[in-house]
């Protein structure tokens, strides 16, 4: 049995230490409808961007027989990217890298000038969330009605509205997912196949995936994507400075805030009448009057809200407005106004890098070869001794013809004077030191080439040689380094 002393010790109560929760509970945001200049700009952006997204796969482009007629198509099956008259091969995927770099610098550039303008206006998360919120508002009403509806116990009317909303969301999400796959497969034929149940599993899987992500991210997650999931707000602080134009509350003018009745004097108080409209319209549910915050996506809807209120109470608009931090501080200190300086080292650097990367890509694109050659030597066996003593190496020669016409190219080798070429296959003519290879349009022609030298001329060990192809007109030319291996010393 336990000793009484230990029992007592064990029983000594300790103060309980409540553990803080690991996750903050989500406060559901019910953004209120607002109208105004920035709302109109956001609607216009939304229409243009969604229009582009849904329409682009349907653009047709005649490339002649044997090639897809879709203007923009990333054909993973055949490993080609079709962009109007430009065809990108897998070897040229660095153009994609280039566009990603351009996108990154473009984002930095825009951020250093105008803050999170990408987040507020053009980010897909913002655009689709805006669309989903509009649908929600059409079905469930504005902020107050939605809050009331959510507080109500379940009823037939509530169930109908909720079902209607989620059905509409899922329909939009499915259209989004559907449009996504059209960038990778022929749009008109695939659309028919999808509805007939004839499309491939991949197509259904990706439509399903993007339907699910659109529905969840734009319908349910919304501002949480920006606040918790997206890395961009985390490092935007490095892109912004006191000269970046961001959404600001003019504290020097607005404070002290307080309710205002018509006819009251405006002396000794700020212009902010604490109507809370800027908070109600905010899609991320923050109060812009608390200053710049990580949750603010810079959409400018609070500007529209405040402008409405200021016009109603007859005070100058612009209490919440686009402004720089430097100008804010100057106004706060009642010192000379600080003008906006869009040209500063940071923006110059970003603009310079943008120009350089764009220039490199343009030059690369302009000089891009439509003929390429790769040569791979057979290493098993390393070399072959023929019955008359000659030494022979064999090579897999691949000629890339990026043109849409069949080509004839002449193959020759340098660095092995007495070499004789031999071939296997029906697409080759010629013998001796050169040969003519026939390459089909838009394909990689593969040829087996034998290079034979007399025993007396065979190198001891390996000897560098160069394969060259050029076409009749001389406009396409490519070479590839290889080695010829002879018996060791």
């Amino acid at each position: 049995m336990a000793s009484p002393a230990r029992q007592a010790d064990r029983a000594t109560p300790r103060p309980p230490t409540p553990e803080p929760p690991l996750y903050a509970p989500r406060t559901k945001v019910y953004p209120r409808a607002v109208s105004g200049k920035w709302r109109r700009i956001k609607w216009a952006t939304l229409v243009v961007l969604l229009g582009l997204y849904y329409v682009v796969p349907w653009l047709r482009w005649d490339r002649g027989p044997g090639a897809p007629s879709q203007a923009i198509l990333i054909d993973l099956d055949h490993r080609r990217g079709w962009f109007f008259d430009v065809v990108i091969w897998p070897q040229e995927v660095y153009f994609v890298t280039g566009f990603l770099i351009l996108g990154a610098f473009g984002l930095f550039f825009a951020s250093s000038l105008f803050g999170r303008v990408w987040c507020g206006f053009t980010c897909p998360q913002t655009v689709w969330t805006d669309l989903f919120m509009w649908v929600e508002r059409m079905i469930e009403g504005d902020r107050n009605e939605r809050m009331r509806l959510d507080r109500q116990p379940m009823s037939a009317g509530k169930a109908i509205r909720k079902t209607l909303k989620h059905t509409a969301w899922l329909a939009i999400a499915a259209a989004t997912g559907g449009a996504w796959v059209f960038y990778y497969v022929d749009a008109p034929t695939t659309l028919v196949k999808i509805f007939r149940g004839e499309a491939s599993m991949e197509v259904y899987a990706f439509v399903g995936l993007f339907t699910a992500t659109t529905y969840v991210l734009a319908g349910w997650a919304r501002e949480q994507v920006c606040t918790y999931m997206c890395p961009w707000p985390r490092f935007q602080a490095a892109m912004l400075d006191e000269q970046s134009v961001i959404v600001t509350y003019q504290k020097w003018r607005g404070e002290p805030r307080g309710k205002h009745k018509a006819g009251d004097s405006w002396d000794g108080r700020g212009d902010c009448i604490d109507c809370n409209l800027c908070v109600a319209v905010c899609p991320t549910g923050i109060d812009i009057r608390d200053g710049q915050q990580i949750e603010c996506i810079g959409c400018g809807l609070c500007i529209d809200a405040c402008t409405q209120t200021m016009e109603k109470v007859g005070r100058p608009t612009g209490l919440i407005r686009w402004d720089t931090l430097a100008a804010q501080q100057a106004k706060e200190a009642r010192s000379a106004p600080v003008p906006w300086r869009p040209v500063r080292p940071r923006t110059l650097l970003y603009a310079g890098l943008l120009t350089v990367v764009a220039a490199i890509m343009l030059v690369t694109f302009a000089l891009r070869a439509d003929t390429e050659l790769t040569v791979q030597r057979d290493r098993n066996p390393n070399f072959v001794r023929l019955s008359n003593g000659d030494i022979r190496n064999s090579y897999a020669v691949k000629v890339l013809n990026k043109r849409r016409t069949p080509r004839q190219v002449h193959l020759a080798i340098d660095g092995l004077p007495s070499a004789q070429l031999g071939f296997v296959g029906a697409d080759v003519e010629g013998s001796g030191a050169t040969a003519t290879l026939n390459v089909q349009p838009d394909t990689v022609g593969t040829f087996r080439v034998f290079v034979t030298v007399p025993a007396s001329a065979a190198p001891s060990g390996s000897k560098p040689i160069t394969f060259t192809v050029r076409d009749e007109a001389g406009s396409g030319r490519a070479s590839h380094d290889a080695v010829f291996v002879g018996p060791g010393r």
């Binding site: 336990a2 029983a11 290493r379 098993n380 072959v384 023929l386 019955s387 008359n388 022979r392 064999s394």
Partner: protein, 286 residues
Amino acid sequence: MPTKIEKDTLSGQNTTGHEWDGVKELNTPLPTWWVYTFYATIAFAVVYCALYPSWPWLTGHTQGLLGYSSRAELRQELSAQAKERAGFVDRIRAASLADIRKDPELFNFAMAGGRSAFQTNCMQCHGAGGGGSTGFPNLVDDDWIWGGSIDQIYATIEHGIRNSDDKSRQSMMPRFGVDGLLTGAQVAAVTDYVLSLSGKAKATPEGAKIFEEQCVACHKAGGKGDQELGAPNLSDGIWLYGGSRDAIYRSIFYARNGSMPAWSGRLDEATMKMLAVYVHSLGGAR
């Protein structure tokens, strides 16, 4: 000896009620989610056993309600694949070997199919690249024992060499030394003569005379060989069993009669045709 269950003040959990010399045991049950996952796996196993083959029995195993068998599934996949390729395979079967080589599309298909069949059936002896090794001919060079035309290669693949197939390529080199046809000294003399054909030794009149009497019938004058009889060319630089004096001596003394299986019973006609095209393309084409 369970006594009474108490609440532990420190952890806030119940004890099991067991106590040994004042030491009590906390009751820390498995997490609920774990327990239910465990139950779910048991349920899954029961359903699985009912649906799929599972329990071994003395003479076999339970078949399961779905009648599934991995062998049947493989058969299905193979026949689906054969169906997919049927178009090309039928064309290969119908075309002559020469025609296959002239049609780039058929040629490419035959090369791919031939390479794959070679890696499965031939590389064990002839090497992954067809380079061969001692006793197993090099298929990449231009020296052919039974002929290097594509039709000859096809015939060799189809019927093999020195096996029980009716149309197998047949010939036999006598065991000159073992069977006492020649003495050791005579074998040595003819070895020198054979080496002299490629300029590697000085021939003696005796060696020349023995070669004339014993070897010329198959290996022909000057040791040029005869592909009809599978008698190798002895005057070139290529030696199937080694070109050293010792190796040639052994070849004459013990004789060499390598064999190759007939593939007609194991591979279908189209596969053998593709193999012939592939082997012919390795470089020895005549």
